[in-house]
Amino acid sequence: MTQPNNYGFGEEAALLKDSARKFFREHFPTDRLHALVAADPTPGRAPSCQWDEALWAQLVELGWTVLAVPEEAGGVGMPVAAVAGLVEEVGRAAFPCPLLGTLNATYVLVACGEAGAVGLADIAAGKAATLALTDRHGAWDPAATEVEYRDGGLYGTAWFVQDAGKCERLLVCASTGAGYGLFWVDAHAAGVTAEADGIVDLTRDQAHIVFDGASGIEVSGNALSALHQAMPAIWTLVAADMVGAGEWQLQTTVEYVSTRKQFDRPLGFFQAIKHPLVEVMVQIDEAKSLVYNAACACDSEPEKAAQYAHMAKASASDMAAYASSRSVQSHGGIGFTWECYVHLYFKRQKHSQMLWGDGVWHRARLADIVIGTAA
């Protein structure tokens, strides 16, 4: 299969992206975000889950959570490229919500085939979900899961579960006698305890979830295969989020250095400020181009999807680190204060950078594909 020149990013996709941008501009400007999530600055603050549930309900109403659900399962069946466009705007707004997790679960459920239908039906009905498969060491390999399925119940702990406090369903990877299975679990079921983590990122919540005999519906008996198929879309979407957030960082910083004067010149006059911001732009564009290439591969060149998605996430991770660093540094003393909004994106990006593999990890996997496994 070959890719269409325009990444399959057609008119509908453009409309969706545009309307999302307008939606956030109108309903969720950055000062609202700051007011919502940054009320308690103390470093040792208790874990919390601050989000605008009413606004989220509107988005569910608009159908955003079912865009990736196939039509036959009650969704819209939009291509990954179009979904990436939406996620880019969510990242630009740093909107706290369980969209990414729900999309991730959707792609994994689709990869489960018929057995996944039960999960897709829940998502089509508006339930938010998230993946639970990481071990305590934060391994990016799902086979490291600490959760076991035995005697009809799930046991063990899943770590680093994203936006757990906002979700009603969990898609859990657990070792079974026969390998690894995927289980669709009610987040509030008996035997499921979510322990919220105290995290740096104010725009997300995170938990480790303890399973003690919880029951769940097995949606796949071959978890690794389903995850293998779905991961490229998952990597691509988190990269799309980072591209949007990076663009916010760039534009906000450009605006600041265009107005802030030192030595009778706007800061942006100085090449020591200007050239690093150009480099941020260059890195954002690289990551963005690679995101749509990877998304399009998920849609129409699946044999290349993993390769291109590794590229996109590696590029986005490095970009996010650099864009974050320059956003604070270029803002000077102001950028070092809690009241300036740049720290919200700084923290979100540092979090995203690690999510589902950092740059080094993705490049190592890419090398295994392109060069072959090292002798």
């Binding site: 942006g268 100085f270 200007k274 260059v282 690289e286 181009s289 590029s315 490049r363």
Partner: protein
């Protein structure tokens, strides 16, 4: 690629594409009798030039060059067909065209700014490659700061008398014509510039001297050109007096691939001298290079660096693709203006990585029979500085991006 593009052809384009494909199948030139350089700018011998000129002439006669220019100036009179011809030539892996500055920079500038009679006089032989063109912009005192050129044209009656000194003029040793930026008024920096086309070959020894400059690699390929009372007719002035800077922008826009008219491009031919500055070539090198007990390609640090390069390379390719998808662009010049910066810096880091992979063997040069890849990697690494310096240094490119795209205040 050729087939994917074909799907969007208009009927006229489809017909033309079929014609190109047939013609190329029958007329693609055979193996060159001599080793070809890496790019047209490094053509050093007349044997190389003869072979490449014959190919350009054949392609022009067949209608594959200048397709979108009007017939009156020697063009094909078609609409948006050069792109089609280029795609088919790339797919057929033809040799490159030697008159690269003529086609990419001189032709659109002459077309948009010269008198009709001058277009008709010059463009046909430019398209056919019979006349090679060169570019006279840089001077010893005017590099990044192009507008400070001092080579002076003084009006005497209906003619202009030119005195001064141009440098880094690739292909000047073969060129019939030069596009040139001249000072016609010393009292205004930008408005004191005018733009001409001047005969080089015809005036050799009689107002024009061409001297080869040697590069840090030891290669020749570019020149300095000295003007000593060269007389030129006023008809060879492009556009109005004092509008040289604006005309030069047309040239630079097309040089950066951001112009209106598609440049005729041929290429893709593999031959025994071909040395591609690509990550996959370095991966291949790493596979063949011993490092410790294994191959360099097994070394985790080199693998990481190789993948960094591959990602940057693919990123640039996808930038070019995305630059044609309107809905994914925020600023029309944001991607096109990155092209030159990225292409040159990526080439430099690829060559640098190849040298690192070679290790001690990177000490061996072109004349050493044990040199890996014939010593071309250290050569390419050194040549890459030509790319990050010429046609606006990387530093100048970053200024342009910061000012024109991000809207930051001018640094100069």
């Amino acid at each position: 690629m050729s087939d994917a593009s074909a799907r969007k052809d208009t009927p006229a384009q489809a017909e033309f594409r079929a014609y190109c494909r047939d013609w190329l199948a029958a007329n693609k030139p055979g193996e060159p009798p001599v080793r070809l350089p890496q790019t047209p700018l490094e053509i050093m011998t007349t044997e190389q030039l003869d072979y490449l000129q014959a190919w350009q002439k054949a392609a022009y006669d067949a209608g594959l060059v200048g397709c979108d220019y009007p017939e009156a100036v020697g063009g094909g009179g078609r609409k948006d067909c050069q792109r089609v011809a280029n795609e088919e030539m790339l797919a057929a892996r033809t040799p490159f065209f030697p008159n690269v500055i003529g086609l990419g920079m001189a032709a659109p500038t002459v077309f948009y700014h010269a008198q009709e009679a001058v277009k008709a006089e010059l463009l046909p032989r430019l398209f056919s490659g019979e006349d090679i063109w060169c570019q006279g912009f840089s001077e010893p005192g005017a590099g990044s700061d192009l507008a400070s050129v001092q080579t002076f044209a003084e009006k005497r009656g209906d003619r202009w008398v030119i005195n001064g000194h141009k440098v880094w003029t690739s292909l000047a040793h073969f060129a019939e014509w030069m596009i040139i930026l001249l000072r016609t008024d010393k009292s205004h920096k930008y408005d004191g510039l005018s733009y001409f086309v001047v005969p080089i070959r015809a005036a050799l020894g009689n107002g024009v001297t061409v001297r080869p400059l040697i590069k840090i690699t030891g290669e020749t390929g570019f020149n300095e050109v000295i003007f000593d009372n060269l007389e030129v007719d006023d008809r060879y002035r492009l556009d109005e007096l004092g509008k040289g800077w604006q005309v030069a922008m047309t040239t630079l826009l097309h040089e950066r691939g951001a112009g209106e008219l598609q440049t005729p491009r041929s290429g893709g031919m593999k031959n025994r001298s071909s040395h591609n500055i690509t990550t996959s070539a370095v991966i291949e090198l790493a596979r063949q290079t011993r490092r410790g007990a294994g191959a360099a390609a097994d070394d985790p640090l080199l693998r990481d660096k190789l993948m960094r390069q591959l990602i940057r390379e693919e990123g640039l390719k996808q930038n070019q693709r995305r630059s044609r998808v309107q809905a994914l662009l925020d600023h029309p010049m944001r991607l096109p203006l990155q092209n030159k910066l990225l292409a040159s810096e990526i080439a430099q880091s690829i060559a640098s990585l190849a040298v690192e992979v070679e290790g001690m063997a990177s000490s061996l040069y072109m004349g050493d029979s044990n040199a890996p890849a014939g010593g071309q990697w250290p050569l390419s690494y050194m040549n890459s500085y030509g790319m990050t310096i010429a046609a606006g240094t990387s530093e100048v490119q970053r200024n342009i991006l910061g000012e024109r795209v991000l809207g930051l205040p001018k640094s100069k």
